[in-house]
């Protein structure tokens, strides 16, 4: 499709370890449209963060091996760009990042204001490309500062001027995450990658932050790639959800379909293991496979009740049981979509 903002095709990423190559992403396909909020959910170790980092181009250089695949963003082939191009024009400008833990992402010895001005010096929409020794002109500093203050109002921080004079440890966790959202929006990006932005927060703060994130993204037409392991948070803000298991994407669906008519056995089991009202809580027996020597074919087959002999041989091809609903499972026909009960609470 032409209007796709980001399209990842057949991406294969591995990490060198002492035991051999860990095959973390196995031919992943993934797409984001402009202005869309896409959730990437899965258990820890399923490759969510690796995918996000591959898009940003910040995988560790000495161990990560990208063996095949393409990442196309805004008609640029990111894997072919030089690291200088990527740093100057894409990362921090067109694609920005909201981290999981905002405290460690700030430098503790500089004020928040100094760090935000530093960001604006290089990444502000008016910054001049490539000239590293140009002075940060006073006139630009004034407009950038105004921009910062405006945005801090938008993210509902009390007393923006005062906050800029503070050090990162002097503000609360929720405020730090609001600052991170503001910093991600300052370069006026096309896409934000939010890597588990609410896991470190309390529920009431999480609700506020999710509301804010959805609000600013919709207002500005920014796409968001929202990785999370919390299906509840994904339900709150995502338009579309992709589920990953052990480095393979298994199902993608519009948010409503995803929760009401999950088709992949793994998705169904994941939804069943959420705490609910009925006193029967089901976990998924077994463990996530070791990625050094992952199961052949569909990586979920050793834990799957509905596995057939083909599952171990081949990875299921992409099927579209419904428009906008992508599934990679051999059993999509034999096991019709089941209505799951609404999970109360």
């Amino acid at each position: 499709m032409d209007n796709t903002l980001l399209s990842v095709k057949g991406l294969e990423v591995g990490f060198d370890t002492e035991q051999g190559l860990a095959k973390v992403l196995d031919k992943v396909n993934f797409e984001i449209m402009p202005g869309e909020i896409v959730g990437l959910v899965g258990e820890s170790g399923c490759g969510k963060t690796t995918l996000a980092r591959a898009i940003l181009g910040v995988l560790p250089k000495n161990s990560a091996r990208i063996s095949s695949g393409t990442i196309n963003f805004n008609n640029n082939e990111l894997l072919k760009l030089s690291s200088k191009d990527l740093a100057d024009n894409i990362r921090g400008k067109l694609i920005t990042f909201i981290p999981q833990d905002p405290l460690t992402s700030f430098n503790p010895v500089f004020t928040i204001g100094a760090q935000m001005m530093d960001l604006m010096k290089w990444k502000s929409p008016d910054s001049v490309k490539g000239k590293y020794f140009t002075r940060y002109k006073k006139s630009r500093q004034i407009t950038d500062r105004k921009r910062i203050i405006d945005l801090l109002h938008t993210v509902q921080l009390p007393d923006p001027e005062g906050i800029l004079r503070k050090y990162p440890h002097e503000v609360s966790g929720g405020q730090r995450q609001r600052l991170m959202i503001a910093m991600a929006l300052l370069p006026e990006p096309r896409m934000i990658i939010a890597d588990e932005p609410t896991t470190a927060l309390d529920v009431t703060i999480q609700a506020q932050i999710l509301k804010l994130l959805r609000g600013v993204a919709v207002d500005r037409g920014v796409s968001v790639l929202f990785t999370t392991h919390d299906l509840g948070a994904a339900y709150e803000i995502c338009d579309r959800i992709t589920v990953m298991y052990a480095g393979q994407e298994v199902e993608t669906a519009i948010s409503n379909d995803f929760f009401s008519k999950p088709r992949h056995p793994y998705t169904r089991k994941l939804l069943q293991s959420l705490p609910n009202n009925s006193q029967t809580l089901k976990g998924i027996p077994g463990q996530i496979p070791a990625l050094i020597n992952p199961p052949s074919g569909c990586r979920f087959h050793p834990r799957c009740d509905e596995a057939i002999s083909e599952c171990a041989k081949l990875r299921p091809a992409v099927t579209w049981p419904k428009k906008g609903h992508m599934l990679r499972c051999f059993n999509s026909k034999s096991a019709p979509a089941k209505e799951t009960k609404n999970v109360v609470i």
Partner: protein, 336 residues
């Protein structure tokens, strides 16, 4: 499941099911705040006048946001922090101000699981050694007898015996929790304080761990104090729930009643903040604003009044007492 004999030498007084096993009264824990010259400038009231009763065989949930004093409550009951004021009654005896050797005796029956099981296991000890340690300290059992007990407890928490020869970093987070629990259970405690037992686990693992808690509770006749910030988990497994805000219990009720009919404005906002899959989206109608105030500089009167939509002049003047409205239900608010 296992041939584990519950009535052995370690058991103290058996409290019948349904009778109070732990009573906490006017419980306070204040931490001194010192300035740069180490001179005390004030108090941080981590717990202020908390009263709570736990009955035998019950699972009592303690919920609240981070910094509200949940863990301090658990640790002070255990005696890890010395309490400032008040009393704790456990199995019929006062345990608030014990000396170290007396409290060591007590720890057999009253146990605490730490939030991060990976960090509470010695990285240089094999799992087997970690499991033997409590028995070496608290009992006079011979090595062979200890071995037998450790193996029995390992089957109870559904782990293979091969794990005894592994190091903590070689097993997964869910398995580390099981080991943490097994370590405690070797001593047959009657009350366990579970501090955030499912934080950091994936949902599929969390489900299996919660089922394990429920199984073990039946098998070993346990009572749990379940400290958590995850309300959906608390709703699933607790019989009663206490909601804390800035060192005070603001509401306590039977789980179903609390979740279906919360009275305190804070409880209401906390419950409305949980994402409900298939329900109304929280992001569309969440009304609570602001963040909890600094616990070292609490507002006068009710500590929730800075964020409360229902506040009146009365809330400014004095903190509302926790009053019993009906049955098990108590709430600390003037405007219910």
């Amino acid at each position: 499941m296992s041939s584990y004999n519950i009535n052995d030498t370690l058991d103290g007084i058996e409290i019948p099911t349904g009778e109070p096993i732990l009573g906490v009264k006017n419980f306070s824990k204040w931490f001194p705040i010192n300035n740069s010259w180490n001179r005390q400038t004030g108090w941080l009231k981590a717990l202020d006048n908390v009263s709570l009763t736990v009955n035998k065989g019950e699972i009592v949930g303690v919920v609240g946001e981070s910094g509200c004093g949940k863990s301090t409550l658990g640790k002070t009951i255990m005696g890890i922090h010395k309490l400032t004021e008040g009393s704790v009654n456990f199995e019929g005896s006062e345990i608030g101000h014990l000396n170290p050797s007396e409290s060591r005796q007590l720890r057999r029956r009253l146990q605490y699981t730490y939030q991060d099981p990976g960090a509470s296991l010695d990285p240089r000890w094999k799992i087997g050694k970690s499991l033997h340690e409590p028995l070496e300290i608290h009992t006079t059992l011979k090595r062979a007898e200890r071995e037998e007990r450790v193996k029995a407890i390992l089957t109870a928490v559904n782990l293979p015996e091969a794990h005894l020869d592994l190091y903590p970093h070689e097993i997964s987070g869910g398995q580390q929790r099981r080991i943490g629990l097994a370590r405690i259970l070797t001593l047959h405690p009657s009350l366990i304080v579970l501090d955030e037992p499912t934080s950091g686990l994936d949902v599929s693992v969390q489900a299996t761990i919660l089922n394990l808690f429920l199984d073990l509770q039946k098998q070993f006749n346990l009572t749990y104090i379940f400290i958590s910030h995850d309300l959906s988990v608390v709703r699933m497994i607790c019989d009663r729930v206490a909601v804390m805000y800035l060192g005070k219990i603001v509401e306590i009720n039977e789980t179903e009643k609390l979740f279906s009919d919360p009275k305190h404005p804070y409880t209401q906002s906390l419950l409305s903040a949980i994402p409900v899959i298939g329900g109304k989206k929280v992001t569309e109608n969440f009304w609570l604003e602001g963040e909890p105030p600094n616990p070292s500089n609490l507002p006068s009167g009710c500590s929730f009044r800075t964020r409360c939509p229902k506040k009146t002049d009365q809330c400014l003047q004095s903190p509302p007492p926790l009053t019993n409205t009906d049955g098990e239900h108590s709430v600390a608010c003037f405007n219910t």
